[in-house]
């Protein structure tokens, strides 16, 4: 995983936020200014479409009035042919905007012998007014729109624009009004009076309005035919619907349908040729069902907004870059001491506590952190120095204790079998101090050829003082016992020696026995020691009854009594310290004397060594590895009998 530093994150987060804020500002600016421009354009476009439509429609209305009045006068049935014909001439004289005017009658309606009667005045190419009559089998005006439509629909109509051949293919439209005469109370259609007007001025007007960069004006006929459009190849050739089909712009077709339906409105349109995306504003000419459309190019319309916006964006980018440099620099500068501190800390982490920490220059968080690091490093250094010293001292003491342990163990008889050349008895002992050195002791030795002394003792307390006291006790016991005294006298003498100058008030429990190995008689004495067990051959173990005499080393005038018992062949005495019965498992339960008895009872036929081993195993099973709290000492003495 790539790790980005604080400088990087600080810079990138700041720049990201800045970019977002900047984008929001630019976007808001664009949206607002755009909608202002669009609504201004809408106002302008709608106004342009409306006013153009009104202007054109106004001119057409003037012509409508003229022809309506002619139609009205033609309803007088008494008009002579000359008068009828003159009507058209007068219309042309008085109305320069009218190109031609026909008064066409129904078949045989004017003259009984003539199918067609239609005088027609029109302006020649030279400007003079010319006359002709319309109607022949080649020109059956009854099927021409200008005649048939008002006839069939019974109301005046404006025809779709058309090119008039006689006027040099000028674009025209015709206003046709049906006129009637009444006969037998009924209105009978007599004919149609028309006015042709050129659309050149309309085209010119629209062209002049289209002379702009940002859009153009166009006009559609009743069925969507282009009457005026800057692209002249569209005029009269295409309808807005064929253009939509050709350009594959269904949107344009929808606009066309709304325009020819006489609606006015504003719509958006995309992908127009040249213009691209744009807005269309349209307004109808109600009498003709024509429609004026104004198209504004979105691009041109919004050019100012776009340019403003791109300038803002450019400034934004420049500002962004400047900010980026500034922030990166600042972030680097601020985090520089931090990075140096990090390097030093890494150095320290890898173990070099003498690594040089950067100087805390600034009084900020980084400075404080550096100081804290400095203090921490000094503390660690002095702690380590202390620790080193302490560890050395401890190691020294431990080493001394190990030596003490070895010495203490060496003063106990450790070699088993201890008397391989004596078959009368079998003795085995073990000691396991809870610490390096302990206060338990055991010993065995011959007093003379037939008397064998063995003992177990337990000094109060543990550790070095107990070990010293134990050593003293052991030495004393051996010296005193060798004087061929009975056990009570030995303990009495030893007690009196120990109690003398015993300022530390230590004491020791002792069980001492002397066996006549020729007959198995045992004399013993106990100075407050746990009662040992005797396992007579074939019987359960029994406690050797306690004498309830004082521990040794407290009172110098204590007298101990000697008792005696007899061991038969195969009997065993098991002496131990309270480290055995008071051993605890992890649940703080004591091993107890009952368990000890149980194990000893299983030791029939076993050697002394096996007995000690079985008790030891049972103890270890019971404690399950719990820490040993007291020294454990065991001694088993089996009488095997005098050899004959």
């Amino acid at each position: 995983m790539k790790v980005h530093g604080i400088a990087f994150r600080l810079a990138s987060l700041t720049l990201l936020s800045t970019t977002m804020i900047l984008a929001a500002i630019v976007g808001y600016n664009y949206t607002v200014s755009r909608s202002m421009i669009v609504s201004l354009a809408e106002e302008r476009g709608t106004l342009l479409a409306d006013s153009t439509a009104k202007q054109i429609s106004g001119a057409f209305t003037a012509v409508q009035k003229v022809i309506d009045s002619v139609a009205f006068s033609l309803e007088d049935g008494n008009l002579a042919e000359k008068r009828v014909t003159d009507l058209g001439l007068r219309v042309l004289h008085k109305n320069p905007e009218i190109y031609g005017s026909a008064i066409a009658f129904e078949a045989y309606a004017f003259q009984q012998d003539s199918k067609y009667y239609a005088p027609y005045y029109y302006r020649g190419q030279d400007g003079s007014i010319k006359f002709t009559t319309l109607g022949s089998d080649a020109y059956q005006y009854f099927y021409m729109d200008w005649y048939q439509l008002p006839r069939e629909l019974n109301h005046p109509i404006w025809t779709e624009p058309y090119y008039e051949k006689s006027a040099g293919y000028e674009l025209m439209t015709t206003y046709s009004v049906p006129f009637y005469r009444s006969r037998d109370q009924r209105q009978l259609l007599k004919g149609v009076v028309t006015a042709d007007i050129s659309l050149r001025w309309v085209q010119k007007l629209i062209k002049s309005l289209s002379n702009r960069d940002d859009g153009y004006v166009f006009m559609l006929s009743r069925y969507g035919t282009f009457i005026a459009h800057p692209n002249e190849s569209l005029v009269m050739n295409e309808t807005i619907f064929t253009a939509a089909e050709d350009l594959n712009l269904p949107q344009l077709r929808d606009i066309g349908r709304r325009m020819v339906a006489g609606e006015s409105g504003v719509l958006e349109i995309n992908d127009l040729p040249i213009i691209g995306d744009g807005f269309v504003y349209f307004s109808p000419l109600p009498d003709q069902h024509w429609s004026v459309g104004v198209i504004f190019s979105k691009k041109e319309l919004l050019a100012d907004v776009s340019s403003l916006n791109s300038k803002v964006a450019i400034f934004g980018i420049i500002g962004f870059l400047a900010l980026a440099m500034l922030i990166t620099g600042l972030a680097h500068r601020i985090t520089h001491p931090l990075r140096r501190l990090t390097a030093s800390a890494n150095d320290m982490a890898s173990g070099n506590l003498d690594a040089i920490l950067p100087k805390a220059v600034s009084q900020d968080e980084v400075g404080e952190l550096t100081n804290s690091f400095q203090i921490m490093r000094d503390n660690i250094n002095s702690y380590i120095a202390n620790l080193t010293e302490t560890t050395a001292a401890k190691e020294r003491i431990e080493s001394e204790l190990r030596i003490a342990h070895d010495i203490q163990m060496s003063i106990l008889p450790k070699l088993f079998p201890a008397f391989p050349d004596r078959s009368e008895f079998d003795i085995h002992a073990s000691i396991e101090p809870a610490k390096e050195v302990g206060g338990d002791l055991y010993d065995f030795f011959f007093i003379d050829d037939s008397h064998f002394c063995f003992l177990v003792g337990d000094v109060s307390g543990k550790g070095v003082p107990a070990a010293f006291f134990m050593a003293v006790t052991k030495t004393l016991l051996k010296v005193v016992a060798k004087r061929r005294l009975d056990p009570g006298e030995v303990l009495t003498k030893v007690n009196s020696d120990l109690a003398e100058d015993n300022d530390s008030c230590m004491f020791v429990t002792l069980f001492l026995a002397i066996m006549n190995i020729n007959n198995g008689d045992v004399q013993y004495a106990s100075a407050g020691h746990n009662p040992p067990l005797i396992l007579h051959k074939g019987k359960n173990a029994e406690w050797i009854p306690p004498q309830n005499e004082l521990v040794a080393g407290i009172m110098d005038d204590t007298v101990y009594t000697t008792r005696s018992l007899t061991m038969n062949q195969g009997d065993t005495i098991f002496i131990y310290t309270d480290g055995v019965t008071e051993a605890m498992n992890k649940e703080q339960a004591l091993y107890s004397e009952d368990r000890l008895v149980e194990v000893i009872n299983q030791c029939h036929g076993k050697t002394s060594e096996q007995m000690v081993g079985m008790v030891d195993n049972s103890l270890k099973d019971f404690t399950g590895g719990a820490e040993q709290s007291d020294d454990i000492t065991m001694l088993a003495m089996q009488y095997l009998g005098k050899k004959e």
Binding site: A138, Y139, Y143, Q148, L149, L153, E160, Y223
Partner: protein, 322 residues
Amino acid sequence: MSSIFLVALTLFSFIIPALAAAGDTTKVSLALQWYPQTQFAGYYMAKEKGIYAKYGLNVTILHGDADSESLDRLTSGEAEFATAFLSSAMGAWANGVKLVNVAQIVQRTALMIVARKDSGISTIADLENARIGTWGSQFQLQAQSLFLRENMDVTFVRQSPSFELFMRGGLDATLAMWYNEYHRLLSYGLNPDEMTTFMFSNLSLNQPEDGIYCLQSTYDKSPDTVRALVEATVEGWEYAFAHQEETIDTLLQIMREQKVRANKAHQRWMLARMKDIILGDKAKISTQLDPVDFDSLKIELMRAGVTMVNIPYIDFYKGLNQ
């Protein structure tokens, strides 16, 4: 030996058209029914692309207009060849004009009835007592047969080709050609879903339309010229179908020269529909006049009283394979 023969043959095949172009060309005139438009694309492309010339013909195309009948130009001698609807030609034949059909180009009728959906017309039966727009008698025949068959009463009203009377609600329905007027209605802003249409080809009233005609005398006098004109025309149509955009542009150019109002979308539509009604579901153009179509039309014509003559198929049709 064979290679020399091949060379000779190759030279021969080059020389013949070359000779024909050089001076041995036959001047003929072909009168069409109407103004230039892609309805006649095959003829115009055969001329423009030099296909007629390749066949040794120098063809002058006479376009039609509202006031002239192409077949009249045959009898008057103004044109040696004319295109016409089968019904018009059979009518003329019955009236004693000694003409023959030398190629039936359009096999399927494009005639249809169109009504505005909002007029409530959705089936043929809804046309009872309707005023139906038409534009010349030759287009009425199938409609007359239809309403005779359905025993219905309708009024046919001749209207100008602008279809304004229909658009302004002066008619309940109108006849229209699929390739022409139907698209004009679309181009006036009517949507297909706003119109109910009945195709005569779906009403068991098929009628082969544009065919090429000449006088019997022309056919007898110069059968090679007839064959050349028909073959070149078929090739012209094949070219037109294979190069639609070029054909449309060429026709638009001709239309502009003739001051005929033209727009591309309309001409594109028309050419596509011409392909539909000339080829039908076939891959190649057939100039065969279907005897079944011929007989059924003959019966309709006699029933309508247009002809009283039982025109023999073999006398009327002199196709390439006859």
